[in-house]
């Protein structure tokens, strides 16, 4: 069964970065988001995405290294958000 958070993130990525010819369901959970020609995203896109994620999920990403790790792929991003949302036990 697909992860609702992962699907929400894929939708948010497509909308925020205005990806053409990419549907949310086309993005694989473990597919690299940056550094490949498939999405052709750069650091400005990363900045835009981070600001949107912070607003959308009420989280704070502390450093560029943390943001790079979180944005590896949709699965790492979903994991990152789960661990930082209010009510998480860690």
């Amino acid at each position: 069964m697909s992860d609702p958070l992962a699907l929400r993130l894929k939708t948010l990525i497509v909308q925020t970065l205005r990806l053409k010819d990419v549907r949310p369901e086309d993005i694989l959970d473990d597919e690299p988001l940056f550094g490949t020609s498939r999405f052709d995203l750069d650091s400005i896109d990363a900045l835009e995405l981070v600001l949107r994620l912070e607003k959308e999920f009420g989280i704070k990403i502390g450093s560029s290294e943390e943001s790079r790790k979180a944005l590896t792929n949709v699965a790492t991003l979903a994991e990152y958000i789960r661990h930082r949302q209010p009510g998480h036990g860690d």
Partner: protein, 369 residues
């Protein structure tokens, strides 16, 4: 694209700076004592936000006239008197941000007095009136290599016979707009900078800075011998991962410094990737030369850093003692990183470098007796 190298020696008749510590002498003294000007402040000033390391000359408000004008007046009062801005005495003004904080303030409070010093040209015209300069005023801006470009332009004006003396003035004062921008990039965060240190997280600080230099063709004891400029054209915010951009610029200035015993005042803001690339390239191009950065104390003074740090270096050379890399502890990205103060004797030249967004690299060679 090959780097541009200008081997156009110019004499440094006068040079000083302004930082939160005071002038170049006070700044040197604080750096030699290992003091940090950086303190944790709200990133958006009175509007609050996360606390980040900023080195400010005063509260980061958005006043009219701008908060930095009294500081600039204080610095300009120490410039040797001359008919600045006239035909043979051009002024070159450089900044990365000029009064951009005022433009941001205008978008929020709609007070159009902010516009008098917001856009670069309006800002410099205000300075021209304030300091009664003539019309021969040049404006240069290229992010954090702005001051280097100003000094290189001054050398060109002198060697082309278009000037007898040139005043280069540079300034960058932190505003909520600029601090907020670096904060959103996540490199201005809740950590203090430790330039060239191997760490989990990179952090920079931002600082207020202004400086001037009076250049001429005179044979002064300290001379700017050469400038190297290079743009690697790789990415908006990233350097080529193999460090080729650093090597191209540093290699060009190393050629100009051949046979000299140098130390290197590096750029070293505290970001990890650029810090590693710079330390490694310095070790390749200047084997055995100590490398320092002072941004762990002063923060990154953006477009003004090249001239602010030149003023501190000159003062240190005159005092025969140079500050180390404040805020950094081992392990570092290279054995060449000097952590503590060291004696200036034994060196007959200094390499000063700055780098900027867009892949811009700048380096200059300061020769001394």
């Amino acid at each position: 694209m090959s780097p541009t190298v200008d081997a156009l020696p110019t004499g440094l008749e006068a040079c000083d700076c302004l930082t939160p510590f005071g002038d170049a002498a006070a700044t040197l003294s604080a750096l030699l004592a290992g003091r940090r000007a950086l303190e944790f402040e709200a990133v958006l000033g009175a509007a609050g936000g996360d606390r980040v390391p900023l080195a400010l000359c005063g509260p980061m408000d958005e006043s009219v006239p701008p908060r930095w004008l009294p500081d600039l007046r204080r610095l300009v009062a120490s410039i040797p008197a001359d008919a600045w801005g006239t035909a043979r005495r051009p002024v070159v003004v450089t900044s990365s941000n000029f009064g951009v904080g005022s433009l941001y303030a205008f978008t929020r409070d709609h007070d159009d007095r902010h516009l008098r010093h917001g856009p670069p040209f309006a800002c410099v015209e205000m300075l021209q009136r304030e300091f009664t300069w003539g019309e021969n005023v040049h404006i240069l801006s290229h992010a954090c290599v702005s001051a280097h470009l100003g000094l290189a332009q001054a050398a060109r004006l002198l060697h082309a016979g278009l000037a007898d003396r040139v005043l280069v003035l540079t300034f960058d004062f932190v505003s909520p707009f600029v601090a907020g921008g670096f904060h959103s990039l996540k490199i201005l965060n809740d950590g203090l900078p430790a330039p060239f240190a191997v760490r989990e997280t990179g952090s920079i600080g931002l600082g207020d800075g202004a400086a001037f230099a009076v250049l001429s063709r005179a044979a002064t004891p300290f001379r700017l011998q050469a400038h190297a400029l290079h743009n690697e054209m790789y990415h908006f915010t990233a350097n080529r991962p193999d460090g080729a951009g650093f090597d191209a610029c540093l290699g060009a200035i190393a050629e100009a410094a051949r046979g000299r015993r140098v130390w290197v005042k590096g750029h070293g803001t505290g970001t990890l990737e650029a810090g590693r690339l710079e330390a490694e390239a310095c070790a390749r191009q200047f084997p055995g030369a100590p490398l320092v950065s002072w941004k762990g104390s002063l923060g990154h003074t953006l477009g003004s850093c090249g001239l602010v740090e030149l003023a501190v270096a000159l003062t240190g050379l005159r005092a025969a003692r140079l500050p180390g890399t404040i805020g950094t502890t081992t392990p570092c990205f290279g054995d060449n990183v000097a952590l503590g103060p060291f004696a200036a004797d034994g060196f007959d030249a200094t390499i000063l470098t700055s780098n900027a967004f867009g892949g811009a690299h700048a380096a200059m060679l300061l020769a001394h007796a």
